[in-house]
Each structure stands twice: as C-alpha cells, then as structure tokens.
Symmetry: C2
Subunit: 367 residues, 2 copies
C-alpha cells in the first residue's frame, strides 16, 4: 500500500484517464439520445443542448470513479461496458443537481447558469407568454426527470451481461431511494431550523456517504460479482469517507474560494443550510455568538459582512477545528479499512491503491 | 365482436375487478416501501402518507388496464406478476401528475389538495422556517422522483421472468422518454401561445396517445412475447384512440362538470392550455371572437363570466362539433383495427372484447 512518487503520478494519470473516458461515453450517449429526441421534434434541441452543456462541462465524476474502481476492486476487468455503466451515475447525479437547483433557487452551477435559469433566459429572449421563471423551473423539472430515466437506460444498455445487471438492480434501487430520501430529510432540516448534530449527520450519511461513495462502490461490486466480504469492505471504507467528504463540503460551503468552487462566497450560509458544521458552532456558541447566527444564517440578502461575521463565529467556537479533526479521523478510518482489505487480498491491489488516493483527494479538495 | 347485454355486464365487472386488484398490489407495494423508508427515518412518514393517499384514492387506472390487457391480448396468462408489473405504470403516472401540478401551480388533484399543497400546509402547521410554498414544491419534486424510481422497481420486482423484463425494457424506456418530451412540448406550446393545430396534435400524440394507450399496450405485449403483428395492431388501435382520448380531455377541461371531474370549471382555460380544441376555435374565429379568446384565455383570475364567454366562442365557431366528430372518427378507426385483428386471431378474443369496451369508455367518459 505504500507507493513512491512515480507510482503516485501514474495513479493520478489513471484518474485523469478515467475522467476522459467517462466524458467520451457520456458524449456518445447524449448524441444517441439527441437523435432520438430529434425524431420527436426539432424543438427539443434546447433540451439536449442544455444537458450536453451541463453534463460535459466539468464535474468531478466521483460517482462513476467509485463505481468503476468498485468493479475493478471486486475483480472486474476494464472495458467499455463498465465505463458506460459507471458513467450512467453521472446522469443520476445530474437529475439530483438540476432538481436541487430548482428547490434551492440557486442561479449558478459550476460557474454557469443553472438549468432553470437557462430556460428562463430562453423564454425571455423569445418573448414567450407567461412567466419566464415558471417556464425555466418547469423545464428543469422535466430535464431532471429525463436524466433519471436516461441514467437507468444507460446502465441497462451498457453491454454488461444480464446476470450482472440483475445482481446490481437491488442496490441501484436502494441508492436511488436513499438519494431522494436524503434530499427530503435535508429539506426538512432546513425547515426545522434546529441544530441537531445527529440529524445533520444523518442527512450527510444519506446524501453523501451512501449516495456518493458507498453505493457507487456497491453497484460496481455487484456488477462484478457477489462477494459479501467486498461489500463489507466498501461500507467500512465508504461510509466514514463519505462523511468526511460531506464535512469537507460543509467547510467549503462556508470558507470556499469562489474562484475555485464556482459558487458565490458563503452560499450555504445564505441558503441557511443546517450542516454539521453549523450544528457544531451552535452547540458551542455563547449567547452573543448565537445571536449572530440567528441574525445572518439563511438571509437571502446576506452580504460580505454577514458572511465574515458567521465565519468568525464558526472559527471562534472551535467548530471549524473540530470538523477538520473529524474529517481527518474519518479519513484515517476509511484508509485503515482499505489497508486491511488490501493486505488480505479482499480487494484487488491496483484498485486499493487508487481508492487510497481518492480518499485523500476527496477530503483535501478545494472544490 | 358483438356482445349482448349479459356479456357486457360481465366485462364491466372484469374492469372493476382489475381496478380492485391494481389497488391491492399498489397498497402492498407502498407498505413494503414505507417499511424501507422507516429504516431511514420515522420523519419520512409524511412522504409515504402523501403517496398512499395520492395513489390509492381514485384514478381511472387506465395505463395499468391497457398494459394488462395488452399482455392478455398477446397471449399472456393472468397472474399476480403481470398485475404488479401493470400497476407499476400508476407510479410512473403519479410522477407525471405530481410534477405537473407543481409546474401548473394546480392546487387540487382528484378533488384533494395537490401534493405540493399538502406539504405547504404541513410546513405552515409546524410553523417551520422559510417559505411554505417553496417547501411544498420541493417536497413534491422529490416525491415525484421517488415515484419514478419506484415505478421501475415495482416493474422489475414484479416476479415476471427476466426474459420478459428484458424484452419490455426498450419500449418502457421509450415510453418514459416520450412522456417527458411530450410534457416539455406541452410547456413550449403554452409559452409560444400560438394556435398551431399540427403542433397541438403532436403534443396530444406524445402526452396521451402514446403514453396513455399505445405504449402501455406495447409494454404488456413485450412482457408476453415478441410478436411484431400484435405490436402493429396495438399501434393501429392505440394511436387514434389515444388521440380521441386526449380530445375528450380537452373538451372536459372546458365543458366538464366540476362535480364530476373534481377540478374547477374551465380549469384548462384559466391555465391557458393550447389544446387542439382551442387551436380549432381560433382557426375559425372572426375578429370579435378572437378578441374574446385573447382577453380571457390564460387569465389566472378567470371567473364564471369569462369561462362562459370562451365556451360560447368554442361552440359558435363550430370547434366543439368538429372536435366531437373527430373523437367519433378516431374511435371508430381504433375499433375497426381491433375488429380486424380479433377476426384474424392476432389478438386473444377476451382481450379484444375488453379493449373494445375500453375504447368506448375512454372516449365517452365525463371525468
């Protein structure tokens, strides 16, 4: 499990290569579907244009990456079919993001206008009837639905054998149900406005730990075979890592650099997101600090001064340090589980090495 | 293909029996899924409660009925598995309706509050933070997504053999893509505000003819076997019937009795729906009549007087009579195709009889 600088460089090339291959199969799938929509009507062109731009412009491809290496770790061999199957998770994620932006009223995504904004602008430009905003949101709801359908279609037409697809079906459905449930619980936390650490961590568990890491690994494993030990290792690695990943997200949502994240500074604060970071800050806030949180958190008009005030509270209460320590601890826990599995040979060696790198990359990222 | 009153009564019992069996399998599926959500969190209870009420309270069960008889007509035998597979289309439809109500801002569905309203009321009652409307709409978006996932899960876990599921996959995906595309085109027609009869009929074709009748029949046929002749018959029957069905919907949206439809009088007029009925009226309107349409159509505050004025224009231009004639002509076309198929034995006799009744029921309904 130790690797010198040379091996490390190889592995980062591997990751870049995978991102490029995911890009290629997504591009091909979208061209195929664009041709299908063309037969229904040429006025569906804005639909595929929007999805092409959304899907092919950036994104970390985390879920395809974990699914692919989950497959390889479980003994599956590289090939176009697994690439296509893994890349399909990006379409599922597109559904989640497009709908999320409608729900949050977020205007930008990855530095570009959100899908609902894009269609609102189209409506404006064409001087169509009715409300541009309603048109934009409605189109985005439908495009998200379409992505959810396409995701599953891309998986089932990946070229993997039927037996593999049947094995993966259960966990694929679990993942999707957990995603929608996690999103609902997130909504509920914002509405309740409390600062319950246990509930904040539950949201993180379903929205991120399971959906972003554990379940993609499980889907990959199920596509490759049915070894219950592999599945257990992926949970032991994926759940703590997923939690660390989400906590990193929480920190970036408050302290992230807009130049790097592509989102306005303090976006999560403006939205009033009830993250574990905020719950921790409130747990340790004195009355004056709590008043600052009450005043600014969730203020849609929040400006630089308010963002700074909240950041100060989050630092001064020790919440930031505690969350950083938690990220480190969970990451080490994940790496430990992986190390044991690699030494026992439960997980194929190359995959174990890449998963090790991914754990570090996912929790030290700046975007 | 002729049948006396006794046989007719038997067949209507058959239809009622099917509705009851669909209800039973949906109830069971929802209980199973409710238990799954319970393991994620007890605060997901409102989600299953809302979907239970939405799914089990009424509905014509048209798509399950066409899928079931499509299967029987293609030689499939009755059983619990096909019931479950057919009933799954009701979950797909729930996704479409729940999202549709959000997009249209419709407050009621089947005489009850729409799902987004239900969650807005929950938010109000609990005095939660943020906007009740946004919470309601966000919850409804997620519940629709969940229904889309569950629909497919209910189909693939129906108990039908894998070979049957693999055969049906292509047409199932086509149906879902056509549904989302049709919804988008509908949106586009409202926004464009034109009165293009060809485009209005294209929307009707994708939203209703294919999605409500032809594709459910095709899914049923594919689950039973792979006879291309059966597929052709179902298109020859399903497409004209579906068009007639949608035209009946257009008429009911303007002239329907609120007591029977459960929707406010003239709801489609208030929403400004660009139906074939409206396109036809505008095609034949003199300048004064066109002015009435321009004044009232799509007015969200439209009251009784405006509804009456629009109804008068639709009648006086001859649009209502023309649409009624079109409904009759398309229904006869569908029945003719079915009659030929039944005499040739392409379609099983009992199924052909039920499909005959369904054609009449779907186009003479008052709700």
């Amino acid at each position: 499990m130790t690797a010198g600088p040379a091996a490390s460089a190889d592995r980062s090339l591997l990751a870049a290569d995978l991102r490029e291959r995911v890009q290629t199969v997504l591009t091909r799938f979208l061209s195929e579907q664009s041709a299908v929509l063309e037969t229904i009507g040429t006025d569906l062109e804005p639909v595929t244009d929007a999805l092409r731009e959304f899907l092919l412009d950036g994104g970390k491809r985390l879920r395809p990456t974990f699914a692919y290496w989950g497959y390889r770790g479980a003994g599956g061999q590289d090939g176009d079919s697994i690439l296509r199957a893994a890349a399909s998770l990006e379409l599922l994620h597109a559904c989640a993001l497009i709908h999320d932006d409608v729900m949050d009223g977020s205007d930008t995504r990855r530095g570009h206008p959100a899908v609902h904004r894009r269609f609102a602008v189209l409506h404006d430009k064409q001087a169509w009837e009715g409300s541009s905003d309603t048109f934009g949101e409605s189109a985005a709801i439908l495009l998200g639905d379409l992505c959810l359908v396409w995701a599953e279609q891309m998986l089932t037409t990946s070229g993997l054998p039927e037996t593999a697809l049947v094995r993966a079906r259960g966990v694929y459905d679990e993942m999707r149900v957990e995603l929608m449930s996690g999103q609902y619980l997130d909504l509920l936390e914002q509405a309740r406005g409390g600062h319950d650490m246990a509930r904040a961590l539950r949201v993180a568990r379903y929205k991120s730990a399971k959906y972003t890491i554990e379940r993609p690994l499980h889907v990959g494993a199920a596509l490759a075979g049915d070894d219950p030990e592999v599945r257990t290792v992926y949970s032991d690695y994926g759940l703590p890592l997923g939690e660390a990943f989400q906590l990193r997200d929480d920190v970036l949502g408050v302290f992230g650099d807009p130049e790097v994240t592509g989102k306005p500074a303090g976006d999560d604060l403006r939205e009033g997101k009830r993250t574990a970071l905020i719950a921790m800050a409130l747990d340790h806030a004195d009355p004056a600090q709590a008043a600052v949180v009450r005043e600014h958190l969730g203020d849609p008009e929040l400006e630089r001064g308010g963002v700074e005030a909240l950041r100060t509270v989050i630092s001064d209460t020790g919440a930031l340090d505690k969350v950083e320590a938690l990220i480190e601890q969970r990451t080490q826990q994940a790496l430990g589980a992986l190390d044991v599995a690699a030494r026992r040979g439960t997980i194929a060696a190359e995959a174990a090495e890449v998963l090790q790198d991914l754990a570090v990359a996912a929790t030290t990222r700046r975007v």
